[in-house]
C-alpha cells in the first residue's frame, strides 16, 4: 500500500496521512486481506465484474495528485468518509476498499480506549479499520461481495443490469 485515501460523499477523496508504524502495519494487513479476497480463499460469495474505476479514483493510480487534501479532524467531523481505499500504485495498481459506516467513525468522547490503567474517553476523532475488505479492484476487474455495499462508495454502473451483464460476460 502506497496510499490510503478516504472517500467522502460527492466523489471527493482525501489523503489519510499515516505515521510510519501505522503505515507498515496497515500495508501488511491490507495486502494479506486483498490476496485472500481476490483468490476467494474465504469463498463467501465474492463476485467479479470487469469495470473501470471512476476518474476521481483512477487518477490516483500512480501518484497522489496535488489537489487531494488531507483528512483532518475537522473534515472527519464535518463530512465523515464513506469508505477507505488502500492503493498499491504502479503500472498495475490495486485498490482495496473498506466501507465505513457511522459506527466506524469515532467522534471525540464517544469511545472508551484502554490506557495502561483504565479506560478513558477518546479526545480526538478516529477511524476503526476492519479486518475485512468489501471490494478489490485490480487489473480492470472489481471483486466484491455485496453490490449494495459497493454502491455506498462507488458508482460502478448505472443499474443492476450493468453488473449482471458484466458477470455474464465474464
Amino acid at each position: 500500500m502506497n496510499l490510503l485515501l478516504a472517500i467522502q460523499r460527492g466523489e471527493v477523496v482525501r489523503e489519510v496521512r499515516l505515521a510510519r508504524e501505522a503505515h507498515a502495519a496497515l500495508s501488511e494487513s491490507m495486502g494479506a486481506l486483498a490476496e485472500r479476497f481476490v483468490r476467494r480463499e474465504d469463498d463467501d460469495g465474492v463476485r467479479m465484474i470487469g469495470v473501470a474505476l471512476p476518474e476521481f479514483l483512477w487518477r490516483c493510480r500512480a501518484a497522489l495528485p496535488n489537489d487531494v487534501q488531507a483528512l483532518t479532524e475537522d473534515s472527519l467531523r464535518d463530512q465523515p468518509p464513506v469508505a477507505l481505499v488502500a492503493i498499491d500504485t504502479g503500472t498495475s495498481p490495486r485498490f482495496c476498499f473498506q466501507a465505513l459506516g457511522g459506527r466506524r467513525v469515532l467522534q471525540e468522547g464517544r469511545a472508551l480506549l484502554f490506557n495502561p490503567r483504565a479506560f478513558g474517553l477518546n479526545r480526538r476523532p478516529g477511524l476503526v479499520v476492519a479486518d475485512r475488505l468489501d471490494a478489490v479492484h485490480v487489473e480492470g476487474r472489481l471483486h466484491f461481495r455485496s453490490e449494495h455495499t459497493v454502491r455506498r462508495f462507488l458508482n460502478v454502473g448505472r443499474s443492476g443490469g450493468d453488473a449482471k451483464q458484466g458477470i455474464a460476460a465474464l
Binding site: N2, L18, A19, R20, H23, A62, A63, L64, N66, T89
Partner: protein, 177 residues
C-alpha cells in the same frame, strides 16, 4: 512539518554565516563572541539534521509525480558568497556586534521563509543533500535528495511543506548517482 520546524529549517541557512562571523571574531581576539557563534552553528546544524532525520523517521512517503528535475547546485554557493563574504572583509566594529548579526539573521530568516527558498541552505549541501527544482502537475516544487541524480516520474517523497519535498528513494537510486 510544523511552522516552528519550518522556521528552524530556515534559521539553519544562517549557520555558515555565523561560522564565518565566528572566525572573524576569533581573528579579532573576541573569544566570547566566537565561542557563542560556534555554539550557535553547532546547534543549528544539529537542528537541521534532526529535522530531516525526524521527518524521514515519522512520516510516510507518498508517491508524487515529479517532472523536469534540475539540480540547484550553484544557489548555496551564491548565497554564501553574497552574505558571508562581506563579513570577512568588514572593518572592525562595522558589523561585528552580536546585535547586528542577530538583526541580520532575523531579516534573512523572514525573507527566506517568505520566499520559501530552502535550497540556499549550505548546511544541507555540506551533509550530502542536493536540491532539485521540479514541476509537479504544473506547480513548482523543491526536492531535497541524498541522490546525486533525480529521475522524473512517480517518486516517493515526504512533504516537508507544500513545496519542499524530501525524496525517500531506495538505495538503487543512490547508487545510480
Amino acid at each position: 512539518m510544523t511552522k516552528v520546524a519550518q522556521g528552524m529549517l530556515v534559521l539553519t541557512c544562517l549557520a555558515p554565516i555565523c561560522f564565518v562571523q565566528a572566525a572573524v571574531a576569533a581573528g579579532r581576539r573576541e573569544a566570547g563572541l566566537a565561542v557563542a557563534l560556534v555554539v550557535a552553528v553547532v546547534a543549528l546544524v544539529a537542528v537541521c539534521l534532526a529535522l530531516l532525520w525526524g521527518a524521514a523517521r515519522v512520516a510516510t512517503p507518498v508517491p508524487k509525480k515529479v517532472a523536469e528535475p534540475t539540480a540547484k547546485d550553484s544557489e548555496p554557493l551564491a548565497f554564501l558568497v553574497a552574505y558571508a563574504l562581506p563579513l570577512v572583509s568588514a572593518k572592525e566594529g562595522s558589523s561585528a556586534s552580536l546585535l547586528g548579526l542577530g538583526a541580520f539573521a532575523l531579516v534573512m530568516g523572514a525573507a527566506l521563509w517568505q520566499l520559501q527558498v530552502f535550497h540556499v541552505n549550505p548546511v544541507l549541501a555540506l551533509f550530502g543533500y542536493k536540491f532539485f527544482g521540479a514541476k509537479s502537475e504544473g506547480a513548482s516544487v523543491l526536492v531535497v535528495s541524498r541522490s546525486r541524480v533525480l529521475a522524473a516520474g512517480e517518486l516517493p517523497v515526504i512533504r516537508l511543506t507544500e513545496s519542499l519535498w524530501l525524496y525517500c528513494g531506495g538505495s538503487e537510486s543512490r547508487r545510480a548517482g
